[in-house]
């Protein structure tokens, strides 16, 4: 997992991209959560979690992503889950995650 440097769009939106690993479980999920919190503390207004390398998201991963969504909502930031594979997109849809974050498929 790594983070792209925070970029500032012309509209003044501070965006950070966080890359998820191939399997989003507790260990990797908590790293993402810490990273996202740090970005929000730095004033990011848009968080993009890139799932291009992610094959599977388990229940712990979902719980952590809901935590990211909650933290972002409290900070007034938007969350985008990008490059999400079909299975994960279905899972997000089924559990209502897609109601709180924009899901962009692969």
């Amino acid at each position: 997992m790594n983070t792209e440097a925070v970029s500032l769009s012309p509209a003044g939106v501070k965006t950070a991209v966080v890359y998820a690993d191939d399997y989003l479980n507790k260990l990797t999920g908590e790293k993402i959560e810490r990273e996202c919190r740090q970005r929000l503390d730095e004033g990011c207004t848009e968080l993009i979690v890139d799932f291009s390398r992610t094959e599977i998201v388990n229940s712990i991963g979902v719980s952590i992503l809901l935590g990211v969504i909650d933290s972002a909502a409290n900070a007034g930031a938007k969350v985008v889950f990008s490059e999400v594979n079909e299975n994960t997109a279905e899972l997000f849809d089924m559990l209502g995650v897609s109601r709180h974050a924009k899901i962009v498929g692969q």
Partner: protein, 439 residues
């Protein structure tokens, strides 16, 4: 036997099909979470970590935005939060319950309670505002084997939909796992507490035993004004030898006790024989020589925390060459502890004044011990004893036991350390008797 139904094109057009697939996915996802939870609870990893992971699994399996897990303390009537997600910094770490709450939760069992419908209970009245502010919807008492062990707090679902019966079943199943983990932890804590109590009781008993042993030693020594403190000194010398032989703490304590009690049989010997200011005659000697066997009889019925204490009393006058008493045992027939006490006893006899003679100079005593190694004493025990003395003479130990027991002047005789070191270097590790026997 039923036939397997094949799916047809029309089935895919059926509006229920999407629901069917979604239900299957939901089942697979939930089943995965349950399996992981079972594994986590059984993994015996860090309890706090297990609870944190469990909370993740409950929230993630059903897409619940926030929640917490608490452990119930029935002594303080409190729910203490173990893990929380999304409840904010102001959610209380402990929530109090009253008797009525507890009774209701026990009656309710492990079933989710709709917080908005439960305002009749004092618990929900007291924390009404807290639950509302944190958007908590369900409260699940974790009741395991008719005992409240904790609770689950669950917020709204990410889907915005109300909890279904299916969700409640899943929550019950997961709650049972988490409750079992907490109950197991409670049991372990209780075992640890009782084990600590038992250890304390055992230590107290050991102390009482040690005090009793010392009282006995004092009683034995009281019979003989010339050998006052003899049993205590023999105990301390035996302890030093045990330490030098690399014994563990328990065995060393046992050696000390054996030393303290080795002469307990003298309690039955007439005082005039023990205190005779002359060399006693053959009849008196025979009477005195009964004390090891009598000591064994006195000590045998007692359940000592250390083994061989009675044997040390019985055989501490035996010699390696078979010329000792009461049984004239030979080298390996003599219990090892008796050999240790024998050396300690002889050393004390030589280094203390008697009614008919003054104590012998240290160099003379050490020379005697060396000469008799392999005849009266086990050589490796003599060597261990010499090492203990040398360590003190060389300043390698803080506690100057020999100096305290024998006096500074006695222990600082010229050339003592050099002569001890020479003796130690010239000694063979086993007795000639042992070697003959082994051959």
């Amino acid at each position: 036997m039923g036939q397997t139904k094949l799916l047809r094109i029309e089935d895919f057009k059926n509006p229920n099909f999407k629901e069917l697939v979604e239900n299957k996915n939901k089942l697979v996802h939930t089943f995965g979470a349950l399996a992981e939870l079972g594994h986590e609870v059984a993994s015996r990893s860090n309890f706090q970590e297990t609870i944190r992971t469990s909370l993740h699994l409950v929230l993630g399996s059903l897409g619940i935005m926030r929640g917490g897990v608490a452990r119930y303390s029935r002594f303080e009537h409190e729910l203490n939060m173990l893990a929380v997600r999304g409840l904010g910094d102001f959610f209380p770490l402990s929530l109090e319950l009253c008797y009525e709450d507890e009774r209701q939760f026990l009656t309710n069992g492990l079933h989710p309670i709709e917080i908005s419908q439960a305002s009749v209970l004092p618990f929900f009245q007291v924390y009404d505002r807290t639950f509302e502010n944190t958007k908590l919807e369900l409260f699940v008492p974790l009741v395991i084997s008719d005992e409240a062990v904790g609770a689950l707090f669950l917020g709204e679902k990410a889907s915005g939909e109300p909890y279904t019966n299916y969700d409640r079943e899943v929550i019950c199943a997961m709650g049972r796992h988490i409750g079992s983990a907490i109950a197991q932890r409670n049991l372990l804590s209780e075992i640890e507490r009782r084990s600590d109590e038992n250890r304390k009781l055992y230590d107290d008993l050991k102390m009482t035993y040690a005090d009793t042993v010392k009282a006995f030693a004092a009683a034995i020594d009281c019979k003989d004004k010339y050998t006052e403190g003899h049993s205590v000194r023999v105990g301390k010398y035996s302890e030093i030898i045990g330490n030098e032989l690399g014994w563990d703490a328990d065995k060393i304590e046992g050696a000390a006790v054996a030393g303290y009690l080795h002469d307990v049989g003298k309690l039955t010997v007439e005082r005039k024989i023990i205190n005779a200011p002359y060399r006693i005659n053959a009849k008196e000697s025979a009477e005195l020589n009964k004390h090891p066997a009598v000591g064994f009889e006195i000590l045998s019925p007692i359940h000592h925390p250390y083994t061989d204490v009675p044997l040390a009393a019985k055989y501490h006058h035996e010699r390696l060459d078979g010329h000792g008493y009461p049984d004239g045992l030979y080298d390996r027939q003599i219990p090892y502890i008796a050999k240790v006490v024998n050396l300690a006893d002889s050393f004390d006899a030589m280094t203390t004044d008697r009614p008919y003679r003054r104590r012998r100079p240290a160099a003379d005593v050490f020379d005697d011990l060396q000469r008799n190694a392999g005849k009266q004493f086990a050589p490796e025990i003599v060597a261990a004893f010499f090492r203990g003395i040398l360590k003190e003479l060389n300043g390698e130990v803080k506690d100057k036991k020999f100096r305290k027991l024998l006096g500074r002047e006695y222990m600082e005789a010229d050339g003592l350390a050099v002569s001890l070191r020479t003796s130690l270097n010239s000694m063979t590790p086993t007795s000639s008797l042992t070697r003959i026997k082994a051959a």
